[in-house]
């Protein structure tokens, strides 16, 4: 190909993302002119759920993903609970929050240490002043911070063992609550495990109390924090981000949505809403469709409550197994950034006002979420009441509909369930990465990652451009969830 013609490049398979991913890039003068994201794995969960007894959804649907397994279980349980008109006891709610919060905090920890930061140990950065420290802390398989984080997670996930038996694919989450009652000894162990997690991230990640990070209100606060706590890995990231201009990289225009998470009597820790770029609006899902225009799927753009999943291998314009979710015709970004924006956290609002959604703000939002989640986990563990019920019995359902909306680590996850004559008549799932890594829709509008990749620099000799890897990983994709 001559130098003047637009060059094409296929990047994939990707490592250190969950599942299989390919990105097709059109290049123009050293920059990405357009990108097409392909999720090359299809399993057909929605088809398998058709016709099964509703309670089987609790066994089948969560197996979409071994990473956000608790989030998938809770979405299923909530969809069934909604169909049954069932409320869960306070202990069940606390157990749900503990499980989801622990999974999300640990996912953010793993994403930062094992998936995202190791990219900065790349030889391309050998001349940078921070490169030696990045190698020491994040070299794959050997970096101190990376190894310590993997060990911390293994230890912290004893929370899952105590509350849910095995993980992933825990079965304890039921429509009526948790099948596992917690006794006093177990409550003490849970509190100790959360305390250990706090101690570790305060010592190594933040080198500061969590509250000091959670209280940051704007960019100058963030810079001061990085200077004052320079020994921490969060500060190392902020130094790298400033040096490489990560706030300019991988910008996505929004909007962003959150289904809301951790509901309690006095309101949710993270409320639901739609961020339109300037303000939070109430979230109305009436205008939600999944558009299969560029997916190997037959049919029209439909609301997931009426949606269908029929593979069509012969579609010429298709390039992914992923249908494109659109809200009121727009692609929407989901994740920790969306949650904290909608929750009104001043630091994230300030970063958005500055340069919107970008590699830096997406990573900062995850770190912030760790800092905000741990104190909540401490509280939920302390509030468990061993002598009170954890689960209400389920109610048989003949004909009903239910929606289960959950905030997984990577963003909003929805399960739409229809039961007819005691059997599942329709089950549709939209996962966080389905939003973020969606292909184009019928109007040709690219998905959030496809937009974020436009303009990203690509070196001539880069087979797998490093900047592309930063952008892709800043979304923390989970490809197995994307298509299911």
């Amino acid at each position: 190909m001559s130098g003047a013609a637009p060059a094409r490049r296929i990047v994939g398979p990707f490592n250190r993302v969950e599942g299989d991913l390919e990105v097709h890039l059109d290049l123009d003068r050293g920059r990405i002119a357009s990108a097409r994201v392909n999720a090359p794995l299809f399993r057909g969960f929605e088809t398998m759920l058709d016709g099964k007894p509703p309670s089987d959804a609790l066994v089948l649907a969560p197996r979409i993903c071994g990473i956000c397994s608790v989030a998938q279980s809770q979405a299923t349980a909530k969809a069934l609970a909604a169909a049954m008109g069932l409320a869960i006891p306070d202990n069940g709610r606390r157990a749900f929050h503990l499980l989801l919060g622990a999974e999300n905090a640990a996912d953010h920890l793993v994403h930062f240490h094992l998936f995202f930061m190791p990219d900065f140990t790349h030889a391309a950065y050998a001349g940078r002043p921070w490169h030696g420290r990045a190698l020491q802390r994040f070299q794959p398989g050997a970096g101190q911070a990376l190894v310590a984080a993997a060990r911390l997670r293994a230890r912290f996930f004893q929370v899952m063992g105590i509350l849910a038996g095995k993980w992933p694919h825990s079965l304890a989450l039921q429509p009526g609550g948790s099948s596992k009652p917690v006794d006093r000894g177990e409550r003490s162990r849970l509190r100790a495990l959360v305390a250990e997690f706090r101690a570790h991230v305060e010592e190594h990640l933040f080198t500061a109390p969590l509250e000091a990070f959670a209280d940051l209100a704007d960019r100058s606060d963030l810079a001061r924090f990085a200077a004052r706590h320079a020994g921490g890995d969060a500060a190392l990231f902020l130094t790298i981000a400033a040096d490489l201009g990560l706030a300019e990289l991988g910008r996505a225009p929004g909007p962003a949505l959150s289904y809301g998470a951790y509901a309690e009597a006095e309101g949710a820790l993270l409320p639901a809403g739609l961020w339109d770029g300037k303000a939070v609006r109430p979230l109305d899902l009436a205008g939600l469709v999944e558009d299969p225009a560029h997916a190997w799927m037959a049919g029209a753009a439909l609301h997931p409550g009426q949606g269908e999943t029929r593979p069509d291998l012969a579609k010429p314009q298709a390039y992914s197994w992923c249908k494109a979710p659109r809200l009121n015709g727009q692609p929407v970004e989901v994740g920790a950034l969306a949650r904290q924006l909608i929750a009104g956290h001043p630091l994230i609002r300030a970063l958005w006002a500055d340069r919107g959604s970008n590699v830096e703000s997406r990573v900062v939002a995850r770190l912030l979420e760790i800092a905000r989640l741990v104190p909540a986990l401490e509280r939920w563990a302390a509030e468990l009441e061993p002598d009170r019920p954890f689960c209400h019995p389920a109610v048989p359902i003949e004909t009903a509909q239910g929606v289960g909306l959950v905030e997984a680590a990577r963003g909003g996850l929805g399960h739409w369930l229809t039961v007819e004559d005691g059997r599942i008549a329709r089950y549709q799932i939209i996962a966080p990465t389905t939003w973020n890594f969606s292909p184009r829709d019928g109007a040709g509008m690219p998905g959030p990652l496809e937009q974020a990749l436009v303009g990203v620099p690509v070196g001539n000799d880069e087979a797998t451009p490093i900047a592309v890897q930063h952008v892709v990983r800043s979304f923390d994709p989970c490809m197995v969830c994307t298509v299911h």
């Binding site: 794959p140 849910a164 304890a172």
Partner: protein, 372 residues
């Protein structure tokens, strides 16, 4: 000059001799090996001159198997596995991306031809030419055949790679199958479970490293040490089954008291696995599905897991309470308890028949009440 290999490992990995030996003992115990085998395993793992090369392929999967391995402690996987074996290709953990990763896989296969261990995670779609799972432009079928050709040993980790697992749930939209449906000319060791217990996998690898061969397997490729006993045989709630004490609903009195989950559809009586013996998550007693109040779903058993409805009663393959059990006074339900039934029947010299009859009645009674 002779340096003790465990001391070398101790220095290299930063794991204490004590925790390393504990780990080896746990593996030996998982496999039910005789006394002394733990020392053999320790010597083999610590003293391996060259780390065996492992190629780890991901297909139609959820990464749950890798995730559960990452949770294994004493010592953690990233220390032990990454040091003791040479993981030359693994998508989630590997540092490189794209063509580099592909090249690493090919180079490792060439350099270790006939000697590497192939691990497959995830099912292999066979319908429509295998189009439902492609990595680097190759189908899962092509990659499996290519990597299996020169492998010294093949391990299918998880139910998906073992027989198709979750993605093969009827109507099996992608024709998902296990490794042994693709690789016919070599034995494939299967470690089913969703996810499988990490110690069953690690013990299989340790066996290969220690004794130079894979452990004894059954006709489905499952290591006998892990899959020769029914869950029901070692279940901590077995006494409640024998005594006729059952939970009827999640959250009811029987459920809160930790009674047997048979009537909630527990598949323990027809599922072969060592879950109740070795547990999950390194947190001690009760950390497995039945321990947390949820019936076993039979995830290790083809035809049961993901195929049989969760509320359907298990077929009892084994109905006799141990003769040594004392008579237990029933405090819930109706009729004769299992323990007392067996006792009475035992006196009459027909324990087997009575036990089986009672078990059938249990099932039938439930079926009838469902219809009512």
């Amino acid at each position: 000059m002779h340096q003790d290999p465990i001391s070398t490992l101790e220095a290299k990995l930063g794991v204490s001799r004590r925790s390393f030996l504990q780990f080896c003992t746990a593996l030996a115990a998982t496999m039910g090996l005789p006394k002394g085998a733990d020392a053999q395993i320790a010597q083999a793992l610590a003293g391996a001159a060259k780390r065996p090369s492992v190629i780890w392929l991901h297909f139609q999967e959820c990464t749950g198997c890798t995730e559960s391995l990452l949770r294994a402690e004493h010592p953690t996987l990233e220390k032990l596995i990454l040091e003791i074996i040479s993981l030359d290709y693994h998508e989630s953990l590997f540092a490189a991306a794209g063509h580099q990763a592909e090249a690493a896989r090919k180079a490792a296969m060439e350099a270790n031809k006939g000697k590497y261990v192939l691990v497959v995670e995830g099912a292999i779609p066979t319908k429509d030419g295998g189009i439902y799972c492609k990595i680097g432009g190759h189908t899962a079928m092509e990659l499996t055949k290519e990597c299996a050709a020169d492998a010294a040993a093949i391990i299918a980790i998880g139910s998906c790679a073992s027989w198709g697992g979750m993605p093969s749930t009827p109507p099996n939209p992608t024709g998902a199958a296990g490794v042994n449906a693709i690789v016919k000319d070599k034995p494939v060791v299967t470690i089913p479970g969703c996810p499988p217990n990490p110690y069953n996998f690690l013990a299989t690898v340790a066996h290969f490293l220690t004794f130079g061969k894979l452990p004894a397997i059954d006709e489905k490729g499952r290591p006998l040490f892990a899959y020769s006993r029914l869950i029901h045989e070692n279940c901590e709630r077995r006494a409640h089954f024998d005594a006729g004490r059952f939970a009827n609903e999640f959250g009811d009195e029987g459920h809160r008291k930790g009674y047997c989950l048979y009537k909630l559809g527990c598949k323990g009586p027809e599922t072969y696995a060592n879950c109740p013996s070795i547990l999950f998550g390194d947190v001690g007693s009760g950390s497995w599905p039945v321990g947390t109040g949820h019936p076993c779903v039979g995830c290790t058993e083809q035809g049961i897991g993901f195929a049989k409805p969760i509320h359907a009663l298990a077929d009892l393959k084994n109905t006799y309470p141990p003769a040594s059990y004392p008579r237990i006074v029933e405090d819930q339900g109706q009729g004769l308890s299992f323990g007392s039934a067996a006792l009475v029947a035992g006196i009459a010299g027909a324990a087997a028949g009575a036990g089986a009859m009672l078990a059938r009645n249990l099932g039938r009674k439930d079926d009838e009440s469902d219809k009512a």
